[in-house]
């Protein structure tokens, strides 16, 4: 247990030092939500008449497209953290030539992987708060008082996402060139879950896939709780789906990662690029 905590502390500190070593990252936190949301915001404006979006309202229950987009962006930030900080961290260590030496340490590889992304999750939470503030002033974004309840939905979701991140890392170990894999899987998963549009817009086949993705319920429940939009199912049902998927993804993710890790050790191809 002590050794486990030492690893977590060391990896957390490394990630923190690297993050603050490039202060432009923090400044970018203020700029990025504007950059991603503005095209949707002005596009939304081209569909609105006197501030009302009657068409959009028929899908979601109210006209708050700004809240819809900003919450979508916030949850997507966590999804990206999972894919990029967990999946990409292995590739980054490979390029820097430290992966083999790190893995030679007498520490569980899963712990090494998860601990590296812990700081990223903290940084993302900080960035999400900043996003809310920036978007409040830029686009008039506001939320209801159900914040604590929404956090209750978010925590099991994040644990489940770590499981997905482990599976992505395993894929990176196999494919080596991580960028396209991470970029595509991140965007497809977030897109199909309704990050920036109501999933009811999609054809039935794709909507079926959306309903099978637990992330859909994270986006949906956050919007129902924080901006009073109509959820797809009752919030109780959505919470149960999120908790069940947390267990499934955590177990599945760590299983896949340990299998691939063992395979890499057998083949001795960890250092090959």
């Amino acid at each position: 247990m002590r050794r486990w905590l030492i690893v977590i502390k060391a990896r957390f500190l490394i990630s923190m030092k690297m993050y603050f070593r490039y202060p432009i990252n923090v400044i970018m936190t203020l700029f990025e939500p504007l950059m991603w949301i503005t095209p949707f915001y002005f596009m939304g404006k081209t569909f609105s008449q006197d501030g009302n979006m009657t068409g959009f309202q028929k899908y979601t229950g109210n006209s708050d497209f700004v809240g819809f987009l900003v919450l979508g962006y916030m949850i997507t930030s966590y999804v990206s953290t999972v894919f990029w900080s967990m999946g990409f961290s292995l590739r980054e260590e490979m390029t820097q030539g430290v992966l083999e030496s790190n893995w030679s340490a007498p520490v569980n590889r899963t712990t090494l992987l998860v601990s590296k992304s812990l700081f990223q999750f903290c940084a993302t939470t900080f960035e999400v708060i900043l996003t809310g503030i920036v978007c409040h002033f830029a686009f008039g974004f506001t939320i209801t008082s159900n914040l604590l309840k929404a956090i209750g939905f978010l925590i099991p979701s994040l644990i489940g996402m770590i499981g997905i991140g482990m599976a992505v890392s395993a894929l990176v170990l196999l494919a080596k060139d991580a960028n396209p894999i991470i970029d595509l899987s991140n965007s497809i998963v977030a897109g199909l879950s309704g990050s920036f549009f109501p999933i009811k817009v999609m054809p039935k086949g794709l909507m079926f896939i959306s309903l099978a993705l637990p992330l859909t319920y994270i986006y949906d429940s956050s919007r129902a709780l924080l901006i009073n939009q109509e959820p797809l199912f009752s919030l109780k049902t959505e919470f149960l789906i999120i908790v069940a998927s947390m267990f499934i993804f955590t177990i599945l993710g760590s299983y896949v990662f340990s299998k691939v890790e063992r395979r890499c050790r057998m083949l001795g191809n960890l250092g090959t690029h």
Partner: protein, 274 residues
């Protein structure tokens, strides 16, 4: 002649790396399809199940073709984005791999070395654009107006701006040491100001003023005139000239900044610093 040999050698080396990791083929087939789709599906969501919002969109943009309108904007954005990551981060990538110093020691023109790094971006941007047009034509049945020669001309008109920006960017990254943040600034400004998914007339006046300093605003508008609104090259002439003019300025600025940064890293000995 010597410079051409350098450009050729660098481009050849990059092509070898590109084919060594074939996962980019997946990206080049899927990205042109899914990136615009994100905006298209959102736009359909905004228009409502009965498409009641479409009339206001048509009044603002001059076309009811949501898909064509968005695909053109995002296609230009993807070309810029790709160039920023590949060409803009080129020197930084060499630095990360530990090969920048040894390349820098070669008795060659460093600017030719940088230009060689840009060749692959142009090739990839061209493939990206072709794949976009083909996929949207075949899968979504989008009818692009104009002809192939006009489309190629539009692509060539946008390239000086893309290449110029890549040069500025690649040089600045050597100084700032951070690719991600720098890429986000450039592509972010383009997303906010150039109207990739909306007509710039919807923005406040001060933003429209800033948009005029971005060559891509004119490039996207010219492409939409030719490929969506069925206008001729002559009718899009004003936008084409503005895009070319600002693109030429960017290329000159790129060369100046590269020279400055080259001198700076030589004097401070900071080429290997992370």
């Amino acid at each position: 002649m010597n410079n051409l040999r350098v450009i050729y050698a660098v481009a050849k080396k990059d092509l070898s790396s590109l084919f060594r990791y074939p996962t980019w083929i997946i990206s080049i087939l899927i990205w042109p399809l899914i990136f615009p789709l994100m905006y298209i599906v959102s736009a359909i969501g905004f228009s409502g199940p009965d498409r009641s919002g479409l009339s206001t969109f048509k009044a603002a943009t001059g076309t009811a073709d949501i898909i064509g309108f968005i695909v053109i904007g995002t296609m230009v954005w993807m070309a810029v984005n790709l160039t920023m990551w590949n060409f803009g981060g080129y020197l930084r990538n060499e630095q990360m791999k530990g090969t920048l110093e040894s390349n820098w020691l070669c008795p060659i023109n460093k600017f030719a070395f940088l230009l060689g790094g840009g060749v692959i971006s142009i090739v990839l941007s061209l493939i990206f654009s072709i794949v976009s047009v083909v996929e949207y034509r075949l899968i979504f049945g989008v009818h692009f107006t104009g002809n192939v020669f006009e489309w190629i001309l539009i692509f060539l008109i946008i390239m000086p701006a893309v290449f110029g920006l890549g040069m500025v960017f690649a040089s600045l990254v050597l100084w700032a040491k951070q690719v991600n943040a720098m890429v986000n600034v450039v592509r972010g400004l383009m997303m906010i100001l150039c109207g990739i998914t909306f007509p710039i007339s919807i923005m406040p006046g001060w933003m429209q003023f800033l948009a005029k300093f971005m060559p891509f605003t004119y490039g996207i508008e010219a492409a939409r005139q030719v490929m969506v609104k069925d206008k001729s090259i002559m009718e899009a002439g004003a936008n084409i000239l503005a895009c070319l003019g600002e693109g030429a300025v960017l290329m000159i600025v790129g060369k100046i900044i590269f020279n400055m940064i080259e001198n700076r890293v030589k004097l401070s000995g900071s080429l290997e610093r992370f």
